[in-house]
């Protein structure tokens, strides 16, 4: 299998490319945001876009890739960008970038991966400063990715309220998968493994790795559990004891359980359970169906964690 043949995000890439091709150099550019969970192919998409820009629009556009984890302020963006352009010197990095653009008759395209880090770390005023600069005619174009739609994009008083054109990466479908897997792949086993994982290209890679070394369904699941073990263990270990207890109880129940079920399983009373369940819901560890229904069922939100905790029950 060649993962490079996965065409899942090609439509998006083509539309971004088409936009860049047509964007007027002198106007404020349309900011783009690509939203998709971990492993959905955001980084891959940006890389591919970067190569396409360089190869086909290189005369007028210059891609600059920035990792969001490195950004702690708005100035970091300009400083980092300036250093990529090999501009050395002044503290007015943004002005330097504008001069560079003028000198090279070339507009910078900032490809910022994982921009949620920047938005979560910095204050609203930093975002306004970024927006103000991006809105200047001819300023660099920004195309960013984020794992979620953040309040920074939806709060009325946030700088980027309604400020990005947001595109969502769609989940991987079986038809995408069929197009890339080698002939003779056992689709039944593949599908079963994939059903435990988020519908992303990264999951497909993991599954293909497992299928290439395993011979039967039982081994598949055992191997998958092995693969995800470090991640799950880290998630589990960072929980306090009572939360671990509730997780273990929930893992015993096929379709999750009500507060009463959990009470029976753990032997704890409501006072020992409710506050923790609320905490777990806030942290996204458990999901609860429709709030309005009294006695709604709780389930472990992360299918991997559930699989891992159910060890020995399969």
């Amino acid at each position: 299998m060649n993962i490079n043949f996965l065409t899942i995000n090609d439509g998006l890439i083509a539309s971004f490319f088409d936009y860049l091709k047509r964007e007027d150099m002198g106007k404020p550019a349309q900011p783009h945001l690509i939203v998709g969970g971990s492993g959905s192919g955001k980084t891959f998409l940006l890389r591919k876009l970067s190569v396409m820009i360089e190869e086909r629009l290189g005369a007028s556009l210059r891609p600059v890739s920035i990792e969001g984890k490195m950004l702690f302020s708005t100035d970091d963006i300009w400083r980092y960008c300036a250093s990529c352009l090999q501009i050395h010197g002044g503290s007015a990095a943004f002005e330097d970038i504008l001069s560079w653009q003028k000198e090279h008759s070339c507009r910078v395209v900032l490809l910022v991966d994982n921009m949620q880090y920047y938005f979560n770390r910095t204050e609203g005023s930093e975002h306004f400063s970024l927006r103000g600069k991006l809105n200047r005619p001819g300023a660099p174009v920004i195309m960013a990715t984020s794992d979620k739609v953040l309040p920074a994009f939806t709060d009325y008083n946030a700088a980027f309220f309604d400020g990005f054109k947001i595109s969502y990466i769609r989940p991987l479908e079986m038809s995408d998968v069929q197009a890339v897997v080698a002939q003779g792949t056992d689709m039944g086993r593949l599908e079963k493994l994939l059903s435990c994982l988020p519908r992303t290209p990264r999951s497909l890679l993991v599954v293909m790795g497992i299928l290439s070394v395993s011979n039967d369904s039982r081994t598949d699941v055992a191997l998958l559990r092995d693969w995800i073990s470090p991640y799950c263990q880290a998630r589990y270990d960072e929980c306090v004891g009572q939360v671990q207890k509730i997780l273990s109880a929930l893992a015993q129940m096929e379709d999750g359980g009500t507060l009463q079920d959990i009470r029976e399983m753990t032997g704890d009373d409501n006072g020992r359970l409710s506050p923790y369940l609320k905490l777990m819901a806030d942290k996204g560890l458990v999901g609860k169906e429709a709030k309005v229904v009294r006695g709604g069922r709780y389930t472990i939100a992360d299918p991997l964690l559930k699989l891992w905790l159910r060890e020995g029950n399969l």
Partner: protein, 383 residues
């Protein structure tokens, strides 16, 4: 080049469409020496219009400056933006000897952070007065200050903020009060400058400004915008489809027209029907992030429940409701002695909802700011 589909950033050049009436009115006021105040909800098209007016005035030979105060939150930053903008645009006299020392100091700004030494009030006074003397008042000039209330609001929270805010507002006023000045100003903001100033006893600093209103596009322009956008993508939009889409949006500010158009393009498969418009609209109303508007109400705490009551009522009334009708809703089923308390509560909640962009005031009527949010709310909490 022709128009291109933009959602979010201010539009310029060929991307700007319509607003003919507003432009004509603004030009007439400016030509007659008025300075203007434009307060309107976000994304209505204030900055785009301001830039368009600059384009027009520049063509007439006026000196023009656009200052975007969202880029700063400090007084230093304010001065830096102001100085930078004016130096580049020839609104200032040839720099006189007297001030070269000030500007020298400022020149270093680009090399490293600089303290203007303001705070020691004597020096501050000198600096502002010095800058003031640089303005040429004998040439037709147009200065746009965007996001003024945002900046003042943040500055107000800093140390000695109230004093700084008062100083800047008075300084700006004094610039407008120079006898025979030919400089005209336009201040833009999404938060009302009048409320902001009057609640701080600074109303007098802006009472010379002429209110300028901005609302939806008139039907003809809204129609034209959608038609032009269609052309730019090679999509034929017939009469019926355009009318249908505009009816659907009901509040035809350019932003909503742009956003529904972008959805139409995204789903486009060669034909456009009323069904495609329905689909695009439904897509927009069901975007999962609209849910955050409901979640965010949890922060209202004791005001959450009345806020929900108000929003629920408003979602059933696209044309809007008067305050009295909303009061009736909140009073329903309560003892009449509670009236005064509920009346106060209503004012408070309406303010909160307006500040947070849920609703807006349109004459005597309150409506949802976004038709998309209104229909989302209706689908979710009424149906």
């Amino acid at each position: 080049m022709c128009i291109s589909n933009k959602i979010g950033p201010p539009v310029e050049g060929d991307d700007f469409f319509g607003r003919e009436k507003e432009i004509r009115l603004a030009n007439r006021l400016l030509d007659n020496g008025h300075s203007l105040l434009l307060s309107a909800p976000r994304r209505i098209g204030k900055s785009s219009l301001a830039k368009k007016l600059i384009e027009e005035k520049r063509r007439k030979g006026w000196k023009c400056v656009y200052i975007d105060l969202e880029e700063t939150i400090t007084e230093d930053g304010f001065l830096r933006l102001v100085i930078d903008a004016f130096r580049k645009n020839g609104i200032w006299e040839q720099v006189s000897k007297r001030l070269t020392s000030v500007l020298d100091k400022i020149d270093k700004v680009s090399v490293g952070p600089v303290e203007f030494g303001i705070g020691k009030s004597g020096e501050q006074e000198d600096l502002y007065q010095g800058l003031k003397r640089l303005f040429r008042h004998d040439e037709d000039s147009f200065i746009v200050v965007d996001e003024l209330t945002l900046f003042l609001g943040l500055l107000n929270k800093s140390e000695d903020g109230a004093k700084k805010v008062a100083y800047i507002l008075n300084w700006l006023r004094s610039l407008r009060q120079v006898g025979g000045t030919k400089i005209r100003w336009l201040f833009c903001g999404s938060v009302g400058l009048r409320n902001f100033t009057s609640s701080r006893n600074l109303g007098y600093t802006v009472n010379d400004l002429t209110e300028f209103n901005l609302d939806e596009l008139d039907r003809r322009e809204a129609y034209g915008l959608l038609l032009e956008l269609g052309k730019s993508e090679g999509i034929t939009m017939d009469d019926d489809i355009i009318e249908y889409a505009l009816d659907k949006l009901s509040w035809n500010i350019p932003y909503f027209i742009q956003i529904i158009f972008s959805k139409l393009v995204e789903n486009y498969d060669g034909t456009l029907t009323r069904g495609s418009v329905d689909l695009a609209y439904r897509d927009l109303c069901s975007e999962s992030y609209l849910g955050t508007w409901s979640e965010r109400l949890a922060e209202y705490q004791e005001y959450e429940s009345p806020a929900r009551q108000i929003l629920k009522s408003l979602s059933t009334q696209p044309a809007g409701m008067e305050r009295g009708a909303l009061l009736d809703k909140l009073m329903t089923g309560r003892e009449s002695e509670g009236f005064e308390r509920v009346d106060l509560l209503l004012s408070k909640v309406l303010d909160m909802l307006e500040n947070d962009g849920y609703i807006m005031k349109n004459g005597a009527l309150r409506t949802f700011r976004s038709p998309l949010l209104r229909d989302y709310w209706f689908d979710r909490f009424v149906l």
